[in-house]
């Protein structure tokens, strides 16, 4: 454990020494989204965790010249497995703590929504606060909370994927740049939307309906109790589950790689 903590400190010190401009870029973008959330709809704060998530891994790895974590071996004696674990633990830890803080901030802002409400916000709130009636279990507040943790889980998966690519292939500093990472993320979302649209167009929605119904029913059933906490826990579980899977794969890939 001590070795892993030491490795994290090495990464932090390296990043701090070389990436001040990029650090302020990430900080600036996250602050902007937090401010947007405070001024309009609190849910917009979720974009700050997306920004941090997709830029955090490149921010740590770009501090190296070798793009294979090789520099660390010259700083402290270690093994490849520990490096992978420390990197995953560091980025996942920072991201999770930051997300938790943003979520608390989001909940506070939701509580005081009357004080920060713009016209748009009031309209949206009115829509949400309508009586749901019998047979409609889902509350929009619960769905919003779930959306926050859904985005958290997806970003966590993206981060795990970035780590794995890094340890498997090593990424050039050009393709690992912050802007490129963010654009790739947006491109990924666009690709998913395009593929979904193509599937619906080609196969007809009726064929997909049963799977869709199971999926939606389950999501709504899980989102209903405890203001969406149950669904959120399920999503967080999936996010971390995928991260652990990518961690195992990264260890195997990194140990098999010739440095």
């Amino acid at each position: 454990m001590k070795k892993i903590i030491d490795l994290m400190r090495v990464d932090l010190i390296s990043a701090k020494g070389r990436n001040k401009g990029k650090f302020f870029l990430i900080l600036g973008l996250t602050v902007i989204f937090v401010a947007i959330g405070m001024l309009s709809e609190a849910i917009f704060m979720v974009f700050s965790i997306v920004v941090l998530g997709v830029m955090l891994v490149p921010f740590i790895t770009m501090a190296e010249k070798t793009h294979n974590a090789g520099k660390i071996f010259s700083v402290i004696p270690t093994d490849r497995k520990s490096i992978v674990i420390s990197r995953f633990a560091l980025t996942t830890g920072i991201y999770t703590v930051f997300s938790a803080i943003i979520f608390i901030l989001y909940l506070i802002m939701e509580k005081f929504s009357d004080f920060h409400g713009t016209t748009l916000s009031k309209d949206v709130n009115e829509l949400y606060e309508k009586s749901s009636g019998f047979g409609t279990g889902i509350q929009m507040k619960a769905l919003e909370n779930s959306i926050f943790w859904f985005i958290f889980a997806v970003t966590l998966m993206v981060m795990a994927g970035q780590h794995r690519r890094y340890f498997k292939k090593g990424i050039s500093s050009k393709s690992n740049s912050l802007i490129r990472s963010f654009l790739k993320f947006l491109g990924g979302i666009a690709l998913v939307c395009a593929v979904s649209a193509a599937i619906i167009f080609i196969f007809n929605i009726n064929i997909l309906k049963p799977t869709f119904v199971v999926f939606i029913n389950m999501i709504f059933a899980l989102a209903a109790p405890m203001n969406g906490m149950l669904l959120s826990i399920a999503l967080i579980f999936i996010g971390f589950g995928f991260t652990i899977y990518q961690l195992v794969c990264s260890v195997v890939d990194y140990e098999a790689r010739e440095l």
């Binding site: 199971v214 109790p225 399920a234 999936i238 195997v252």
Partner: protein, 642 residues
Amino acid sequence: MKKILHKTAALVAAAVLTVCTQPFSAFAEDDDELKCPSGATVSSVISSQKKIDAHPYNTEHSKTDSARVELIFHDNEILYTRYYGCTNIEEHTLADENSVFEWGSISKTFVWVSIMQLWEQGKIDLGEDIRTYLPDDFFRHLKYDDPITLMDIMNHKGGWCEKFYDSTSEDMAEMPSLEEALKNVEPAQTYRPGEVASYSNWAASLAGLIVQRVSGMDYVDYVHKNIFEPLGMEHTSAGPDFTDNPWVREQRLKMNCYEISTHNNYQENADGTTEEEMIEEFKSKGTCLFNDQLYPCGSITGTLGDLATYAQALVNDDHPLFKNAETQEKLFSGSSFYGNTDIPSFSYGFDVKEYNYTRTFGHTGATFGCVANMEFDPVSKFGVVGLSNCGDDFPNYLCQFVFGRLKAKKYIGENYEKFDLTPYSGYYSDTRTHAAGLGKFILYMDAFSIDSINAAKVADGVFLEYHSEEYYDDTIYSIVEHSDGRHGIVNSCSEYLEIKHYVPKLCLLAGFMLCGVASLFILLAKRKLNKARKASPLSFAHIITAGQFAKIISLAAMISIVIFRINEENTDGLTKTQGMIIGITQIICMVICVAALLAAAYSFITKKKLPYGRIRSLSCFTGNLITVSAMIFFEMYNFWCC
């Protein structure tokens, strides 16, 4: 929906036009002029409807829309009939007096009328245990020994949830007898008889069998002899596949059924701008013919005229269907009531609706292709019947003109008192949903909280779900407490029943699903480690791996239930074979998971030195424990009693 809105808008516009263009003398209504329960005079309703019919939108679309036929009657007189749309759009066949439609659950009222006929003849006791009228050992899945009376069945309180298995036959040659069919798909009895209201098609058909056994006649023959023939209903069939009336069969085969599908259309205007509009089309579903083995609950098919004849008979003072006037009066006196009030929630199998100025009785119906509505007021003797061959176009537009607004505001007054639902706070689910066997998990996916409902007090334990002044449909509910301490919220013959400890149970279901997803990740990681020859397996690794596969298969089997239920056309549940395959698959998966659970426990105890060995054993043990517990609790294996 937009089409329906268009139609409604056209109807309202025409109605306003009618009122505004009436000469002033029309407003000086003659006191002797017949008035509908809504307060409008019959002549004004009819003239407004005729204007609606003549509206260019309606005359144009009547040739391209699906059929919606409606009729208003008063006592023995037919006041107004509308035949709108086509029974077959592709062949441009317009709806007329010879068009036949399926009446769906309105058929159940024929069972209830038959029961009441036999009751007044002294052949049936409504308070007697129905086992008296059935063969010995008829029931195989009864959970309670309490007697089940015909009164319970008429109030949908027999204790059965909706049947799980399909009861339609593709081929009439394969059609079993009614008794056999009922035995084949007997649902689980999940509630104590006489306590919980749970709408059941199966129980209604069971009452049909009782009619058959008590009268000594085939059910279809009984209905023909005792209802159709006395009323002269020559254009109606009661049997499956219309074997009892070839004319109805011939007419029915000409009809197609439709659903409304929407898509966007872009139109270029003269100035070069593009305008987007929503186009709604009637998509053909074919004939939607089906042979229901449980035919008493929903197989009657006939013309609008015959449906009106039947409804008129039920408001007729000469009580043509009964020997005694008292029997007909009893039929509409209410058989269950909201709390301690005298507001009936259900009346001997007939739905009760509370309008601002009147109370109606009747029933609605829906099959795979048709929808139907029958409503009448036995006091004023006004009635409305409607039929349609499009499931998205419910034929009840005329009700608002005849009966007024479907609001029960008369019970709460202008300054209503809020009804506090806090003591009953919790999660509730529709009792009609499966509560036992393979489909039990569906109950937990359909549950909802009542915390955000606006309730206005009607009486102690009785409230109105109040939306707003503009909202059309307010519904009365009553709170009941059952013998097991659970609360129920009753409306008509439906009930929302409280689920105790809902959140932990839902967590178990979510845990089961997450274990399936996690197993997928674990298997992928294992594959990676095996390829790199870095795997360090626990004891009995093959069994543990098999357990992971079993969890994924079990999850897929559970999802397949919903897929089968939605995907199959013109069937109303899983086939027995599908259920058996899924059930056996779940049993095999459960056995494997139990073995994996034991293997993980052994691995944990033996303390074999492995990287993260204890954590891996423990997580494997927990995953299998959750899966097995969920399988047992949600009865995922139980394909024989659901």
